[in-house]
């Protein structure tokens, strides 16, 4: 370490080999400011750090990189993922391969959206606030619910928060029934969030041979039933049964989705009696990004809105009577209510929600149905193509754009063999449940041509044989 650095790096010129270009002060600025503050050396400003706790050396990091070197380095890392045209992938399971139109990404890269702060000062954040308001409106229309929040981290934490919300609404603990058709990772996250809530007991509702949740009769100790639409195995559930049962028992019906495109065609959960609808909107306008960031959302009935976690944008007027938007009902939130808040969430997924909002607007009333029909048709074709080659479905219930098949051997090994031929035909379900080691979950969307589906089916058939 050189002496200059020890002194606080008052060098002649900011580092031109790396991030120096992001620094806004130069040597003369620093000198003028030190003089104004009345210290000779910047180290004096750190005098409050007790000597025993000071870090005196130099962090053991690799040398700074220029922009040219960084682009090269990151290109190399990106190339270490088989995520380009070399591989034909049918992976979904809640991180779904949909097309993102160019204008969606162009709009969210506008600095006004990309770099803006949370709109706590509404006069400077009307763009974000209006977009959130429109996002909330679209999700209400899609789900049939009355109120939707401005987003939460992901679908998994949305389910977890919904369970805690149902407990608040019930004003007591009790049993929470989770469908076997709930995404296993979502179930895991819900169990994590509720681990230290002593009065919640989880139970699992199994699926019938068609892949639909067996709800049965429930008693009044149940505070919530959690189903997924379409469920983890791609099956379209008949939510009305759960709606009737939960209403009769006074429990809350929570409906989760990991594939909201289905609601271009599927009955809105509100019409089946859902009390809380949550899930993931990554399918709209967001890339897969190795699983994050995502777009969780939570929607509920009007009467329950004060128990909803997360931010909410509302319409109001300014002092001149001009219409505008603000963040509202903040007394639910941690920065006001602290220990008694509905959740500890602060930062959410605003920019991802904006992308979802823009994509949903662009699809519009016709496009969302068209997109859903395309997904249904492609997946139906793929399901038949695999059945024709000797791979039957696990469940014969109606599906949307995803389905599980039996491959007659270890599915993970099958995936590896297919990968060698440039195809990843689906998610091997043994990673979630050893009893499902011979099952493959296949997701087929608008990005897959008939030719691609045929190739996948052929490669799988060859790998099985």
């Amino acid at each position: 370490m050189d002496d200059e650095m020890k002194k606080g790096a008052v060098t002649d010129r900011n580092d031109t080999g790396g991030g120096g270009r992001y620094l806004s002060l130069g040597k003369s600025d620093r000198e003028a400011m030190l003089a104004a503050v009345g210290v000779a050396d910047v180290e004096e400003l750190f005098a409050a750090i007790p000597p025993a706790s000071r870090f005196e050396g130099s962090l053991g990091l690799e040398a700074a990189m220029s922009e040219i070197e960084l682009v090269d380095h990151l290109e190399e890392l990106a190339a270490g993922n088989a995520a380009d045209r070399r591989v034909l992938s049918f992976l979904g399971a809640g991180c779904n391969p949909h097309f993102v139109p160019s204008h969606v990404d162009a709009l969210i890269q506008r600095q006004e959206f990309l770099t803006a702060y949370t709109p706590y000062q509404p006069e400077l954040g009307q763009g974000t606030l209006q977009a959130i308001f429109e996002f909330q409106s679209l999700v209400c229309m899609l789900t049939g619910m009355d109120v939707c929040n401005a987003s939460v981290y992901d679908g998994a934490s949305a389910v977890a928060e919904a369970v805690l919300m149902a407990r608040r609404l019930a004003r007591r603990g009790g049993r929470v029934l989770l469908s076997e058709g709930l995404h296993p990772a979502y179930e895991a996250v819900a169990r994590t969030y509720a681990r230290y809530v002593d009065d919640i007991q989880f139970e699992v509702l199994p699926l019938d041979e068609h892949g639909r949740t067996i709800v049965g009769q429930i008693d009044d100790e149940v505070i919530a039933i959690v189903l997924q639409q379409p469920n983890f195995f791609g099956i379209v559930e008949d939510l009305r049964v759960a709606g009737e049962q939960s209403a009769a028992a006074g429990a809350k019906l929570v409906v989760n989705t990991t594939e909201a495109v289905a609601f271009g065609l599927a009955l809105p959960p509100a019409e089946a009696g859902a009390d809380i609808v949550v899930g993931e909107l990554q399918s709209f306008g967001n890339g897969m990004n190795f699983g994050g960031p995502l777009v969780g959302f939570m929607a509920c009935r009007d009467g329950d809105k004060r128990n909803l976690p997360g931010r909410l944008a509302g319409r109001t007027v300014d002092v001149d009577g001009q219409e505008g938007y603000v963040l509202t009902l903040s007394t639910r939130e941690q920065h006001i209510r602290r220990a008694r808040a509905t959740s500890n969430i602060c930062t959410n997924e605003a920019l991802c929600a904006l992308a979802a909002c823009i994509h949903m607007c662009s699809l519009g009333r016709n496009g969302i149905a068209d997109l859903a029909r395309t997904n249904l048709a492609k997946a139906t074709y793929a399901r038949q193509a695999l059945a024709d080659r000797g791979m039957p479905v696990v469940y014969d219930g109606p599906h949307f754009n995803e389905f599980a098949v039996r491959v007659g051997g270890d599915a993970a090994e099958l995936v590896d063999r297919c990968l060698a031929n440039g195809v990843v035909p689906g998610v091997a379900l043994g990673r979630f449940d050893a009893a499902r080691a011979d099952q493959l979950l296949v997701c087929v969307t608008e990005v897959h041509s008939k030719q691609a589906i045929d190739r996948m089916a052929d490669v799988v058939a060859e790998a099985v044989a």
């Binding site: 130099s58 962090l59 993922n81 954040g125 934490s157 008949d238 509302g314 941690q334």
Partner: protein, 508 residues
């Protein structure tokens, strides 16, 4: 001095009110394209049964791509952003977001990477996560990381849950978590979520934690202290070594909130001053764009004793140099995210740290702290400074003197907009009445700082001479002060057709 005279935030005249997207459509317009269907069409009614199929998504607009682009571009212009100017938001570290990050994070190898792709075909993503973990370990002085939390508050939750799991494993069910009164609201909210009773510890006159109160409160029923250091008053806890000793001596753990990491990069490390867990706000310190409220990324650094409890799965590097996920973690606190966290934000944070290197990171801390102290020195003649000594990366002022003229911290904030600046954080921390919490960061030039200072000084004069001018602010923004009370009393949380509009056209 120059700067600050251009009211960037004040652009009245260039902007028009933009109606909602739901009022901009026309029957038959489309804003999407799909390939012609090359497989047989399937009727959902046949496939699912009519009772499970909806007629249409009522209310969705019918707009062209042009409509969408104009609408969102227009409303974007009602936003203020980092590229336009200073956001001196205390505790938020609103620094410049490099353009490079947006490019590299969009490499197809990252955006199209699937979390369930076989590990052999995900080595790039795994390597990036592993490298970033090692770097953050070096910066924090703590050996292990979990990259899974999606934001700071979820990082807190992860940290406190690991602490709970640690005590439980030892057969203890401790009930309390100690939290200083200057803490962020997320701290007590997190403690409650984990079933702990949050106990507030007062600050002293000097603005740091009251050691005697801490000693009295710390006992064998206390799981942890949640400490922000530097604290939210912008002050380093001078007795940090003693604080850590008090907590550890009673068998408790030190949770450190990393909101203010920017001030101490390369200067001191949480692991060296006794932290057992430390969350990092990637979107603050390592400048992933704020996006109007997210996404964030809240990795957690942790000590050896908490390692078994890390969220699963964890990234491991094999002897042959390959990387994989280890999901066989019997003592893990469980999963906190559906997948592995906000990976695309990790790419940006990684690029930022690699651009700076060790020396650059230290320079960030130096410049951020120098800028805050410079602002403090220049404003203390006009604004009450509750703690008059060197601050770290942020300075907390109070509106007490302006209050004598009926001008509040919020009025000062609104008036700053007329001068072209985003206001600082206001009314936080709660321990300072009428707090104005100012954090300039290292990415603000002296001209901009001086412009901000001049504006603040001008507002102080206005408060004395023409208080109504300040109380009526902002005057030049497109929207003037918005009625938050009305919004809360009569919540309108979604668009609905106005009563005088005709019903929506039927669609096929």
């Amino acid at each position: 001095m120059s700067g600050g005279s251009t009211p960037y935030a004040s652009r009245q005249g260039q902007l028009k009110q933009e109606s909602s997207i739901f009022e901009r459509g026309g029957h038959g317009r489309v804003g999407y394209s799909l390939p012609a269907l090359d497989v047989p069409a399937v009727d959902a009614v046949d496939a699912w049964g009519a009772e499970l199929v909806r007629q249409q998504v009522a209310g969705f607009p019918e707009v062209s791509e042009v409509d969408v682009v104009r609408h969102f571009t227009r409303i974007s212009q009602h936003n203020y952003g980092i590229d336009l100017g200073l956001h001196p938001l205390g505790s938020c570290t609103m620094k410049y977001n490099p353009k490079l990050h947006e490019q590299v994070a969009r490499f197809r190898g990252f955006t199209a990477a699937h979390p369930y792709m076989p590990e052999a075909a995900s080595q790039g993503a795994l390597e990036l996560m592993w490298r970033l973990e090692r770097i953050l370990s070096e910066i924090t002085g703590l050996p292990y990381l979990s990259m899974q939390p999606a934001a700071g508050a979820q990082g807190e939750l992860t940290g406190i849950m690991m602490i709970a799991a640690y005590h439980n494993k030892r057969g203890e069910r401790r009930q309390k978590v100690l939290i200083p009164d200057s803490a962020h609201g997320t701290n007590p909210a997190t403690a409650s979520l984990c079933g702990f009773e949050p106990v507030e510890i007062p600050s002293t006159e000097r603005g740091t934690i009251d050691l005697d109160a801490l000693r009295r409160a710390m006992d064998d029923d206390t799981a942890a202290l949640m400490l922000t250091n530097p604290n939210t008053l912008g002050l380093f806890e001078e007795h940090i070594d003693e604080i850590a000793d008090i907590v550890h001596a009673a068998g408790g753990l030190m949770y450190c909130d990393g909101a203010n990491l920017n001030a101490i990069l390369g200067k001191t490390r949480p692991g060296d001053f006794g932290a057992d867990v430390f969350h990092i706000n990637m979107h603050k310190t390592f400048t992933t764009p704020h996006g109007g409220g997210g996404p964030g990324c809240g990795p957690v650094a942790l000590s050896e004793k908490l390692e078994p409890f890390r969220p699963r799965p964890v990234v491991v590097k094999e002897e042959d140099g390959s990387y994989r996920f280890d999901d066989d973690r019997p003592d893990s606190m469980g999963k906190i995210h559906g997948f592995y966290g906000n990976f695309a934000m990790m790419v940006r944070g990684y690029a930022y740290i690699r651009a700076h290197g060790a020396r650059g990171l230290r320079q960030i801390a130096d410049d951020a702290v120098l800028a805050a102290n410079y602002i403090k020195e220049r404003l203390k003649a006009e604004y009450e400074l509750p703690h008059d000594r060197h601050c770290m990366h942020e300075v907390v002022l109070s509106d007490r003197r302006q209050k004598e003229h009926g001008v509040s911290a919020m009025d000062i904030c609104k008036r700053l907009m007329d001068y072209g600046f985003h206001p600082p954080t206001v009314y936080f921390p709660l321990v300072v009445s009428g707090a104005l919490m100012i954090e300039p960061t290292e990415t603000v030039s002296l001209q901009e700082i001086d412009g901000f200072v001049e504006a603040m000084l001008a507002i102080a004069r206005e408060a004395r001479d023409d208080a109504e001018l300040v109380k009526g602010a902002p005057h030049t923004t497109y929207h003037r002060r918005l009625d938050e009370t009305l919004a809360a009393r009569h919540p309108i949380l979604r668009w609905e057709p106005r009563s005088d509009e005709v019903s929506e056209p039927e669609s096929t």
